[in-house]
Amino acid sequence: MMNGTPQPHPDRYTRHRTFFSDAGWHRLTSTVIVVAGVGGLGSHVLSSVVRLGPVTLLLWDPGVIDEPDLNRQILYTPADIGRQKVDVAAEVLVRINPEVQVSTQALPITAERCDTVCASAQHVVFDCLDSFTARAELDAIRSRRGWTVFHGGVEGLYGQAVTFGPDGAGYAGVFGPEYASMAAAGKPILPMTVAVIAAMQVGEFVHWCNGDGSTPLSRTMFVYDGQSMRSDGIALAAQS
């Protein structure tokens, strides 16, 4: 675990503190925020979340930084090539906000590892993964552990964001169980697509902190179309 050296910085949250109720602020600062995948989406998500408050983060990613990552993975620089993503991310995050606590797992997230690593505290998870197989595993974890998942997915000029509560059919409920066997698209990923979708994921998290568990994107899927420069909200059927 990396902890910064907490220094009193009472003004660093003043521009957004009023957006949180007192209960919401407590939720923000007492929940373990899991980020599954510290690549494109994960980098953008963390860059925002770390600035929200003295949060507790748990990063999962087995990956090593390579040069193609640098087009969108904003936590990393050329000097970091070859290093574990979670290690570099932790260093950067603590520099940005010395009040945060960061734990890392340079491994794929699995249900069994979560049982060992994740304590009984409340958790939420940002789905910033890059494969359908990994998402299927995370969907199973969501159901098993009762987590809320802020999902993001991108492909070229397109992206989607939706929130899956601890109950309900989750990712498979929206896209069908056959999605898990699909090969990853291998399409280009553009930095602005990642930025848009990650912003929606973090926005959902802020709603979750302040709300009663029902967030805007738990009923509607946000879809970004960078080809025609449109965004749409696609209403979801009740997830049974």
Partner: protein, 97 residues
């Protein structure tokens, strides 16, 4: 195969007697498969499954993608009966992150 759903590409989008013009919108890799000038002629009511069955012969690569459909902004299942629509959107899941 349903004859109530006809896939068209290009040309003037004109309603035929008893069949409405419905726009198609595709996301992600589906936008590479379904051309931007594709549209549907639909004699309502039809199931979403019937729409899927009409699209696959026209664009066979769709069959390899777990496509979900939205009718006028609402995600629906294959058994949903469409009684009217202005736009049918096709969604694949996006894998990247």
């Amino acid at each position: 195969m349903s004859t109530r759903v006809t896939v068209r590409t290009g040309g003037p989008r004109e309603e035929e007697s008893g069949a409405a013009v419905v726009a198609i919108r595709s996301f992600g890799k589906l936008s590479d498969i379904v051309p931007a000038d594709a549209w549907l002629q639909i004699a309502f009511p039809v199931s979403v499954e019937a729409v899927r069955e009409a699209l696959v012969p026209a664009f066979p690569e769709i069959a390899a993608v777990p496509v979900r459909f939205a009718v006028d902004g609402t995600l629906v299942g294959d058994d949903f009966l469409v009684t009217e629509a202005r736009e049918i959107a096709l969604f694949p899941p996006f894998s990247g992150g």
